[in-house]
């Protein structure tokens, strides 16, 4: 306004209101800025989320169990002992508390068969195999299958999405039509057909999981790349003469990596879930190997008489799923809060 600009404003400073800075003292503002590295910020955000933290430790515990539990029991996961079948869980020390005492409806299964000094921590199955070792083995395989499938997924999805999003044009159009058609096939159909054509086994299951999961990843990566391509730093890099190679790997990839990690974490529970469904349909890991899904599906046939056979693998399974979901949510909130409802 004219009125204001025509006036000249003088500010009066009161000298006493200011102090000369003491240069020997550290200035806190600078320190603060230096301290918040990206990683630390992520850690502090992640640890502030109690659910995610609990999930994280639960996953570590389950991993430790899966890795080291077979050493705690003298039995092998595939060792059949017909005499010791259908024994319920019995753990030394805990048995005096009234749980895990090897009794079904008050009758000790161990005394019946003269096994007073034998302890099966999680009981045995209908073939007399130690369920403790089998649960550990099953957890191992379930985790392995999910981890490998998700890794391959990430690789294929990121490559596909990057190429499609970055280069655009006819290639993008073509790739997007492929995606559109593939995503129209329900996952249950893809998976069962694959399992029918190939023999059920570890590799087939991983393949089936990869087939159903990579599409989501590539869609996400493409959308992210398209968004990043519009940013000014890409324009700057291009102006400076950066090659496509360095644009992709040095500029875009580091910027979308957080979201990719979150997406990967989020698809782990899905993969475990799918694997268990396949096992339940009889398309899972063949015997004598076990996964959590096969343990549940064999346990359920005897559920009414021996509930422990299903209760234990289900408990491990549910804790695993819940923890992965919690950690994925925590990661999302810490790394990429915008990515909701994916």
């Amino acid at each position: 306004m004219e009125y204001e600009s025509s006036q000249t404003i003088y500010y009066d400073f009161n000298k006493e209101a200011f102090l000369i800075a003491d240069k020997t003292k550290k200035v806190r503002d600078e320190k603060k800025i230096n301290d918040t590295s990206v990683f630390r910020e992520f850690v502090s955000k992640f640890t502030a989320n109690k659910g995610a933290l609990i999930g994280f430790f639960a996953i570590i515990l389950i991993c430790i169990f899966a890795l080291f539990a077979p050493f705690l029991t003298p039995y092998q996961y595939d060792q059949i002992q017909a005499a010791n079948q259908n024994l319920s869980p019995r753990i030394p020390g805990v048995e005096s508390l009234g749980i895990f005492n090897g009794k079904i409806m008050g009758i000790s299964q161990y005394e019946k068969t003269n096994l007073k000094n034998t302890y099966y921590f999680f009981g045995t199955d209908t073939l007399g195999r130690d369920l403790f070792a089998r649960t550990a083995m099953g957890t191992r395989i379930s985790l392995f299958v999910a981890a490998v499938a998700v890794m391959i997924d990430m690789f294929i999805g990121v490559t596909f999405g990057l190429v499609s999003g970055f280069f655009g044009g006819v290639m993008d159009l073509f790739m997007q039509r492929i995606i559109e058609i593939l995503s129209g096939i329900p996952s249950i159909v893809v998976v069962t057909l694959l399992m029918i054509v190939f023999k059920p086994g570890l590799v087939t299951i991983i393949l089936a999981l990869v087939f159903t999961n990579w599409i989501g990843m590539s869609k996400l990566v493409r959308a992210l790349v398209l968004k990043q391509k519009e940013q000014e730093y890409i324009l700057a890099a291009k102006t400076l003469g950066a090659s496509d190679f360095s644009l992709i790997f040095k500029e875009i990839l580091p910027n979308i990596f957080g979201s990719v990690i979150v997406m990967t974490m989020m698809s782990i529970p899905g993969a475990i879930f799918m694997e268990s469904f396949l096992s339940f349909l009889g398309l899972g890991i063949p015997e004598p190997m076990a996964s959590l899904g096969t343990l549940v599906s064999t346990g359920y046939k005897k559920m009414m008489i021996y509930p422990y056979m299903i209760a234990i693998p289900v408990t491990v399974f549910v804790i695993l799923m819940l923890s992965f979901n919690l950690v994925a949510d925590g990661l999302r909130d810490a790394l990429d809060p915008k990515m909701k409802n994916v």
């Binding site: 997007q176 039509r177 559109e180 129209g184 329900p186 057909l193 029918i196 469904f277 349909l281």
Partner: protein, 311 residues
């Protein structure tokens, strides 16, 4: 709008044809032939092949296959019920599957929305973390675990409901499987509607409605919920896949004579013809649902059809 609808329809048809082609290939390259009786002479096999058109070139057989599928003829079952027409098997099993599926969806929508609204409206109280925990549990526990748990508690321990499905007590024995199947929809809808509701509740028109002095439930149900409901349409198609997956297992646990149960049996006894027919039906339902959802969404939200619907 017409262009958009045509485009989506073409994509759906192409997808369906691709699926039929893959299914056809699998049938072609499966080991064994329909006539592997040792008593048949070479001449007899030739005559049989001629009778069923199996001596024609592959592309003609493919066209025949597509035409037959369009007519609703999926061929015969080889193992489960020998020489029984698959379409008849499917037709007699459809009503149960649809009944259970619909019940599950209704339960899912009702409780899912209820939980979602609860969490969104009181999102600074304990209700919000509680419902998000519940929905996370629902998403983490497979439906068969719910199914087995419900069966064990309500069927076996407390004897409130029949343990297995029976066609004489269709309603009461269908309750447990429907509840077990509805857990995933509940979790999904609750999660989704919560975040939508939270967003909508901060919109200006809600503040206006409150400022006008409308009662709280009127603001929530009439103004907020209606707008929050629109994006929920997008999760319907993925939910249907989840239900298919769930129904296969739930139906075999409760021995419900539905499509899912037939699918599992067919997989286990290697009745390829049945497996492939059901795979086609599942794909058809899924693609149909996606098409309807896309078109509906295009009608409701014009931005989608302008952008080409790739989002």
């Amino acid at each position: 709008m017409i262009r958009y609808v045509v485009k989506r329809t073409i994509i759906s048809v192409v997808t369906l044809l691709t699926i039929i082609f893959i299914l056809f290939l699998i049938l072609q390259f499966m080991p064994g032939s329909p006539f592997n009786d040792e008593k048949l002479s070479v001449e007899q096999i030739r005559i049989l092949n001629e009778k069923y058109g199996l001596d024609k070139p592959v592309y003609i057989r493919f066209v025949d296959y597509v035409v037959n599928i369009c007519k609703g003829d999926f061929g015969d079952s080889y193992v489960i019920q020998k020489n029984m027409s698959i379409s008849q098997m499917l037709l007699s099993r459809f009503p149960v599957t649809i009944q259970i599926g619909l019940q599950a969806i209704l339960i899912g929508i009702f409780f899912g929305l209820f939980l979602g609204i609860l969490a969104a409206v009181w999102h600074d109280t304990f209700l919000d973390p509680l419902t998000s925990l519940l929905s996370m549990l629902g998403a983490s526990i497979p439906s068969y675990v719910f199914g087995l748990g419900l069966m064990y508690l309500f069927g076996y321990k407390w004897k409130l409901f029949p343990i297995l499905y029976s066609s004489t007590e269709q309603f009461s024995s269908g309750i447990l499987p429907s509840i077990a199947l509805s857990m995933l929809p509940i979790a999904n809808i609750a999660r989704f509607s919560r975040s939508e509701m939270v967003e909508v509740l901060q919109a200006d028109f809600i503040i206006l409605a409150q400022a006008k002095g409308l009662s709280k439930h009127k603001v929530i149900l009439k103004h907020a919920l209606r707008n929050a409901l629109i994006p929920i349409i997008t999760i319907i198609a993925p939910m249907i896949v989840g239900l298919m997956l769930g129904s296969t297992v739930i139906e075999s646990i409760y021995s419900i004579p539905g499509i899912g149960n037939l699918f599992v049996t067919a997989i286990q006894v290697n009745d390829y013809n049945v497996v492939i027919s059901i795979a086609f039906i599942y794909s058809f339902i899924y693609i149909g649902a996606m098409l309807i959802v896309d078109i509906l969404y295009g009608v409701i939200d014009p931005r989608i059809r302008v952008a080409g619907g790739t989002n």
